[in-house]
């Protein structure tokens, strides 16, 4: 059985946290470039240009592009033919977050208790989802998820009779209500199906797919494109100041569900769509 050390995980995670916050992904840059060509509002264009300039400064100076350096969220695929020596995976990830955020001058944005609200001071604990997969590698997907867009996210148990129209109307409603608060242009992550907790997970998972990459299921892919068109006709625009670029992309993940249910979750992501992946 292949061995991966605790320290390898720690160092890998620390690097992911810093890279995610300093370097805006190629996919987001490309989406900004497209939006700069298509945006109808002059103010909207100014905002998009400011975001490109900001990302360039962040990358050049190794500083966070946004002061909200996020909740560190991990989706980890653990090959069942490998094992971690020297400690537990979740502890290694949290130590990596502590190291990455601390040494990288990233903000600590986590309170240890939702009611007492005392900042833990090192951005831990991270949110960690693990899945056992084939093979002897560990794939670590990381996102730094901002609080502003998370706050405007939502979930609803629709009725099966609400159907596709009900789903579309609900998603559009959430984007409308979010307006400027979620820092548009957005990446709209959607989960359809599963059950109550699984649906929210699917919405989050969809955000890990790069901008521009469609769901392999043709029906879902078409729905993504249709919603993208509708959202960009809402007029919200960059930063909610009006314009034709409200979403950079719409991502949908769908899964089996109970005969009585139609859960839909919308996880909004701000334009600082910060995702990194590493394989150990």
């Amino acid at each position: 059985m292949r061995k991966i050390t605790y320290q390898e995980v720690v160092d890998c995670v620390a690097t992911l946290c810093q890279e995610a916050n300093y370097n805006l992904g190629e996919d987001v840059f490309k989406a900004f470039e497209t939006a700069l060509r298509t945006e109808e509002s002059p103010v909207g264009k100014d905002v998009l240009q400011q975001l490109v300039d900001n990302a360039n400064v962040a990358a050049a100076e190794h500083v966070p592009m946004c002061q909200d350096t996020g909740t560190a969220v991990f989706m980890v695929e653990v090959g069942q033919d490998c094992h971690i020596v020297g400690g537990i995976l979740s502890e290694a990830i949290n130590e990596g977050v502590r190291k990455g955020y601390g040494e990288g001058y990233l903000r600590s944005s986590i309170v240890g208790d939702p009611l007492k609200r005392q900042n833990t001071g090192d951005n831990t604990p991270a949110v960690i989802h693990t899945e056992l997969v084939e093979g002897d590698q560990i794939t670590i997907h990381m996102t730094a998820k901002g609080g502003g867009a998370e706050n405007m996210s939502d979930m609803k148990m629709l009725k099966p009779s609400d159907g596709l129209e009900g789903i579309k109307n609900y998603i559009l409603d959430i984007v409308k209500v979010a307006g400027p608060n979620a820092c548009p242009p957005l990446v709209v992550g959607v989960g359809i199906g599963g059950n109550f907790e699984r649906c929210a997970f699917l919405a989050k998972k969809s955000l890990f797919r790069p901008i521009g990459e469609r769901n392999p299921d043709k029906t879902i892919a078409n729905l993504e494109e249709e919603l993208m068109g509708q959202i960009n006709r809402l007029g919200i625009g960059p930063q909610g100041l009006g314009g034709s670029t409200t979403a950079l992309d719409v991502k949908i993940e769908a899964e089996a569900c109970h005969i009585a249910t139609l859960p839909v979750a919308v996880n909004l992501n701000c334009h600082a769509s910060r995702h990194q992946v590493a394989i150990l």
């Binding site: 900001n54 400064v57 609080g147 809402l234 625009g237």
Partner: protein
């Protein structure tokens, strides 16, 4: 056209501002977000004074990242203003003249902006590395234990913002979206 604004604000400056004006702000402002607002509200409830003289001042809703060696401040973009709505009318009543953040204000805040002749600006959310370059001096003035949420006094130069809510009831979020909407909202 860009308007230059010098802080602290006064009635003459505020009355010239209209929703949609793009501005560059220079002068001294104070930072406060969730936890600092909560503490200020508790202080007022106990009959205590606020930790700084709020008259004619501007509060910037921000929780910066830690400064790297050689930096004045880390990245420092606006946070969502609506979380401060519950505390804002009281501060406006006490003389606060302006706020910088991002996102909608509720009706009570918009009404208080009219009643007390104030202004609400938005800065570009997520433009934190660029905005930090307009911050020239920083000093923690209260609630240091809150870390990123402490109250800081900042000197800014040509800080970029846009007027969202003016003292006449103008609301640029509404105006902007109305102009570009092609689908029922």
């Amino acid at each position: 056209m860009l308007k230059t604004i010098i802080l602290p604000l006064d009635n003459n400056t505020v009355k010239e501002l209209r929703a949609g004006d793009q501005v560059r702000i220079t002068g001294t402002l104070y930072t406060a977000r969730d936890a600092a607002h909560k503490r200020m509200a508790e202080a007022l409830k106990k009959g205590q004074e606020l930790p700084f003289d709020i008259k004619n001042q501007v509060i910037y809703y921000v929780g910066p990242t830690p400064a790297k060696p050689g930096q004045v401040i880390g990245s420092a973009g606006p946070t969502t203003s609506s979380r401060m709505d519950a505390y804002t009318p009281k501060l406006l009543e006490l003389g606060l003249k302006g706020m910088i953040g991002k996102g909608y204000r509720n009706n009570q805040v918009k009404q208080a902006i009219r009643d007390y002749r104030a202004v609400y600006f938005a800065a570009v959310g997520g433009s934190a590395a660029l905005i930090a370059k307009t911050i020239k001096k920083v000093e923690v003035v209260a609630y240091e234990d809150l870390g990123t949420e402490a109250i800081r006094k900042m000197e800014v130069q040509d800080f970029p913002a846009i007027v969202i809510n003016d003292m006449y009831g103008g609301d640029y979020y509404q105006e902007g979206v109305d102009r570009y909407r092609k689908l029922g909202v």
